[in-house]
Amino acid sequence: MSHWSCTVGAHSHHFGSLRELMAKATPRRSGDELAGVAAASAEERVAAQQCLADVPLRQFLQEPLVPYEDDEITRLIVDTHDAPAFAPVEGLTVGGFRDWLLRYETDGGVLAALGPGLTPEMVAAVAKLMSNQDLILVAQKRRVVTAFRCTLGLPGRLAVRLQPNHPTDDPKGIAAAILDGLLYGCGDAVIGINPATDSVPAVETLLRMLDELIRKYEIPTQSCVLAHVTTQLQALRHGAPVDLIFQSIAGTEAANKSFGVTLALLAEAQAAALALGRGTVGRNVMYFETGQGSALSAGAHHGVDQQTLEARAYAVARRFDPLLVNTVVGFIGPEYLYDGKQIIRAGLEDHFCGKLLGLPMGVDVCYTNHAEADQDDMDTLLTLLGVAGCNYIMGVPGADDIMLGYQSTSFHDSHYLRQVLGLRPAPEFEAWLEKMRIVSDGRRLLPVGRGHALLAHGND
């Protein structure tokens, strides 16, 4: 194990391992304090960052933070590392890597080629040194494009997951929320329901309802019911119309085990969804959600800070060519991200790390009622992510998820972001919105007349 030290003024700081150095260099957050891995003082944090800036990127290949023998995600990271892709930065330190990322010459093409050569730990390390504006600037360069029935992630585009949850999975209640969202131009990323009940029949009912709606109105989008992967697989085997397979994932094997998933299970699910061949313009069939703090919450953090573990979850996602990945950034609660400031920082870090690793990152800009945050903090993060080129955000009726009991972003919020930054929906979806007389010129919502087909559908 490596040993690091650095002198700040008259004081010398020592860090017993790369793992400890990474944790102490992390901008302050409650989850690392809860885990007992955070810096003890503000000065120690910056000393750790100074020390981390001098660590060679190569060190991360030699010193896994979670042991190779104990963890299949470490094995995935190490065994799939692309040395030729890493070559352009292999001689750099973490601090040098930050400077390199910010250069004019480091554009989207360069970053795309570099991605397979980066490990989550390298990306997490450089994020710890970066300011919020650095995280935005570099992420904005890296567009990640994926497709199923529409194309997501193109420059100048912002997609929205329509999230029409209902506390009892009532199909009419869910349909009402879907129609409301479609009439605000939402739903191009996915129409995705978190079911209240994780049962195969309930999931099948919802999948069929979504499939009928999408087919009837020829909506160029995809559906998903966010049950456990095994539940979705069973529904699929019963012949249910599965577009995307969803699963929550984390950055250690043990945390994933607590979610009831392994890499092998995810591979099986991906193969099953691909075999259905339901995509029309692309074959990205997986949808993953993540969030800082999930490994600690599962008692499976190996003494590693939560931001680094979050980046490791992206190594899992990357393996399966997902259509969508999002960090549910403020959902977990104040014991992991205490307030609006910590949530905003974490959202920008996660988006940056995911993009650098080549993922189609979205963010569930959200908070719970016991966090020190409010909708104004969400407006701030939402706007920053729009500037950073985030692929998609959530669209929840009035930002109030009545099933999950937290606040996210609303249909109105997504329209605000599209307005203020001149962003448009996915191209296929935009054409549909115009055909349906919902949006004109990709920008303005049209008045919805009494006879509009979608309103008539909702009131059937």
Binding site: L34, D170, A176, D180, P334, P397, I402, G449, R450
Partner: protein, 272 residues
């Protein structure tokens, strides 16, 4: 003027038809979600913006409000139920919110006191704990209404109970330590749930068969959303009694105990 429109018409640019009804607004009849809000340009209208702020303010107040443990003790006494107040290692609200580990264990004084009391109380079947958790008003408003019929039903079935334990700043897992110290066969913990915007006073109930340190959430059963607009306290008491009796019969709790033949989840209140 969209923002000052006194009518609830959501299609501000496309007024309601001859019958005066706005078909968009009718979507709101199918869900308590905030649909059919209308818009000013593409943004929330002032009324909807302030409605949301009020709901969030109430939820925030619910999280922050102080727990009137003394009042709860008196209410229980009025129903002939003895209680005993204890403390966790979380010393204040902020610490409780950011250090869930401290809310999972008693403080030293309470641990010692409970050990002493346990000797006098001897072996019993069930220990009920009440805590404010994340919403004090949930415990204040609904705990007694759930406990009284539950105790009556279980005593009728021959169960022996410890005095009700009132423990502010508690987390679900606290019952493992308390249950082990008492040697209780079952523990049941009632505590305020994470408040949602429409549900600032929702009570949760979690029970464990043979509580001990290595129990996890998978070893517990949960009945949630206990409040008049959700699962009313009396109905929750019936459901808990059924589940507890079944748990004692089978000698298990958690995923191994199936929730069958019980009331369906409540319908959400329609949007006002």
């Amino acid at each position: 003027m969209e923002t000052t429109d006194p009518t609830p018409a959501v299609n501000a640019d496309a007024p309601a038809g001859p019958d005066g009804r706005d078909p968009w607004l009718e979507l709101a009849g199918f869900t308590s979600a905030r649909v059919a809000l209308g818009r000013a340009g593409g943004s929330l209208r002032t009324g909807s913006l302030l409605d949301f702020r009020l709901a969030h303010a109430r939820a925030r107040d619910a999280v922050q409000s102080a727990f009137n443990a003394g009042g709860l003790e008196r209410d229980l006494k009025r129903h002939g139920l003895a209680s005993c107040s204890l403390a966790t290692s979380a010393s204040d609200r902020r610490t409780f919110l950011i250090r869930p580990d401290l809310g999972r264990r008693l403080d030293d004084a309470s641990r010692q006191r409970l050990q002493e009391l346990a000797t006098g109380w001897g072996h019993r079947d069930l220990a009920i704990l009440v805590s404010d958790g994340l919403a004090a008003q949930a415990a204040e408003r609904h705990a007694v209404a759930a406990i009284v019929p539950l105790v009556e039903e279980l005593q009728g079935a021959g169960w022996s109970l410890f005095p009700i334990l009132i423990v502010p700043y508690g987390r679900v897992k606290l019952q493992d330590e308390v249950g082990r110290l008492l040697g209780a066969r079952h523990t049941l913990m009632l505590l305020g749930e994470r408040p949602g915007l429409g549900s600032p006073d929702s009570l949760g109930a979690y029970f464990t068969f043979e509580p001990r340190a290595d129990r996890t959430d998978a070893d517990r059963n949960c009945v949630s959303n206990i409040r008049p607009e959700g699962l009313p306290p009396a109905a929750a008491a019936r459901k808990l009694a059924q589940l507890l009796v079944e748990s004692a019969r089978l000698g298990v709790s958690g995923v191994a105990l199936k929730d069958t033949g019980l009331p369906k989840p409540p319908k959400p209140a329609a949007l006002g």
